[in-house]
Subunit: 339 residues, 2 copies
DNA sequence: TTGAAAGCGCTAACAG
DNA sequence: CTGTTAGCGCTTTCAA
């Protein structure tokens, strides 16, 4: 069977402790001894048993990514978070386990209690999130992707909503738009009340609009294509002087473009549409392809893991990182029409 | 700190072995003793340490999902595989780790060598896949999502391409279509040569077309919107009598619809478009929303894990499951036009 | 039906 | 610089 450290020690004619020292680089070892040990490891094809190591060292080198449970009501970009997080973990010689757990404190506590993971990265945190309390009480190291209301002492990474929104408004203002509507997601959806991105993008939109002396016009819509078509009609009826729309949920943005076109409005000649914090893939799928401020999903997954890993090194580390989306210009935005 | 079995044993006035027996239900225990032990566990808030259990039992109860590395060239549905797999694992009291490993045998071998996981589920397997050989040599239990050329002795779950394609053709034939093109993905992409879904859907399309005495017309396209627009033009030029198109990559399908509409062809009045093995979410995003035979992604993730778990119970278990997509009727298919 | 004890493979004092 | 050894918390014989 697979060689153990004992086998390596015997083959190299040293004690098992010495093998451990070269493996972990925790104590000085004569070059010659080291060489013999490394030779033996190579000969035997030795690979260190993670489980034994974890038990003895009280560090499993596994971290958990807690993600929303529902496969359906879940952003396209979830896969980017996964991949980004898993890669960051792998690069640091850690493993990433996926825990699809909804807002269920008990389930989370039970998983954490298994002592399988060194720490937890929490996704899609709400402004008030029960899971954060659970983790705090369990004394488990954790980091958040997103923010709760009170972030004192909690490491997190999140989207820089203000900068992201500023990118949208700058782009549209540069094109001469002065009457810009914002279509937010709907907090009516169960579990979405106080959802950070909804709250923060809207706040940024309102603040920045006023600063530019533009009258805010906020609409809400479910994150579906159908709802997007609906809200497009609403906007046209209630605020006909709008020349551009910033849309938060990408499916909604898609519906908006479809409905505008359907009603005979040219995008972007008559009205511009900009998708904020969606994915480039989905943005590319509409006709015309959406201009978007793409959400930094994979990066956030990576940064969340890295924040947790730092915290594991240093219990006082307090990462607080914001990352803005990136403006990817498509064909759904153009100069404001003369009216 | 967290209570151990020893604590429970002491509190219940029994030996640690007895606690283990009730925990694992491996030996008969007097109801009274059992009660005392359960009481003690409840009082102490005992939770079994997974790592110690794993080391002693030589079963970690962790399985790995090996998924494509590249965050970009990766289907929207990847997240569904993840969630389906993670849920299935959780339900069976297992954990799922994500290993983003491309076709790199050595990396995979190194991960497996850590003895962290009991088995591996491989995604996106090609007709000839190096990783399968690696796993076989390492003597690691594994299951495939997808199929290699030679599947003797290998447990797998995969899409039932023939039935999925039959659903497409039936649907279109029922609507009176007789001249149906198929737009395949492109094997020109590095790593996509011999990609199972490409090979098998095309084969099914050709076979079934001939059976119905319809002349096959196969096109190939990269899985992007732009390429979809391109291929739509190709089809129109080279095969103007086509009244329906079946498109494999969903981004391509999106581009096809956009281009047809753009060129003044009404979908579906002039030409029907059907997306095969895409996601309902993306299908809903075009205008008109695509009819699709939706790929069973979450289910395959789940079934792949379940196949592996069975294999772990019984090394001779040989799961071989095919699951067809599901026809979700949108508004991109309609009666064949009179010509 | 229960208990004692020997590991699982490694880490980390401590001793030399 | 290297070796000895006591665990990590649990499973699993074997004996009682």
């Amino acid at each position: 069977m697979a060689a153990t450290m004992k086998d390596v020690a015997e083959a190299a004619g040293v004690s098992i402790a010495t093998v451990s020292f070269v493996l972990n680089d925790t104590k000085p070892v004569t070059p010659e001894t080291r060489r013999r040990i490394e030779q033996a490891m190579a000969d035997l094809g030795f690979r260190r048993n993670m489980v034994a190591r974890a038990l003895a060292s009280r560090r499993t080198r596994i971290i958990a990514l807690v993600c929303p449970f529902a496969a359906d009501r879940t952003a396209h970009s979830l896969k980017d978070f996964f991949i980004g997080a898993a890669q960051a973990a792998n690069e640091a010689d850690h493993h990433l386990v996926i825990w699809p757990v909804s807002n269920d404190g008990e389930a989370l506590a039970s998983l954490v209690g298994q002592k399988l993971v060194d720490g937890v990265v929490l996704m899609e945190v709400g402004l008030d999130d029960a899971r954060v309390e659970v983790l705090r009480e369990l004394n488990t190291p954790f980091a958040l992707i997103g923010r709760t209301r009170d972030m004192t002492g909690v490491p997190y990474v999140d989207i820089d909503f203000e900068t992201s929104m500023r990118l949208c408004l700058d782009h549209l203002a540069d094109l001469g738009h002065r009457r810009i509507a914002f279509v937010n997601g709907s907090e009516e959806v169960p579990g979405m009340a106080g959802f950070g991105p909804y709250v923060r993008t809207e706040e940024a939109y309102r603040t920045l609009s006023r600063k530019r002396r533009m009258r805010p016009a906020v609409f809400r819509s479910l994150g579906t294509v159908r709802a997007g078509r609906q809200v497009a009609r609403e906007v046209l009826e209630s605020t006909p002087d709008v020349t551009a729309m910033i849309v938060l949920e990408e499916a909604t943005a898609t519906g908006v473009v479809a409905e505008l076109t359907h009603q005979g409005h040219k995008v972007p000649a008559d009205i511009s549409v900009l998708s904020v914090l969606g994915s480039v893939e989905v943005a590319a799928m509409t006709d015309p392809p959406l201009t978007t401020v793409a959400g930094p999903s994979a990066e956030l997954g990576r940064l969340g893991v890295e924040a947790l890993l730092r915290r594991l090194e240093d219990p006082n580390d307090l990462t607080a990182l914001l990352r803005a989306g990136e403006l990817v210009i498509g064909e759904s935005t153009g100069p404001a029409p003369h009216r």
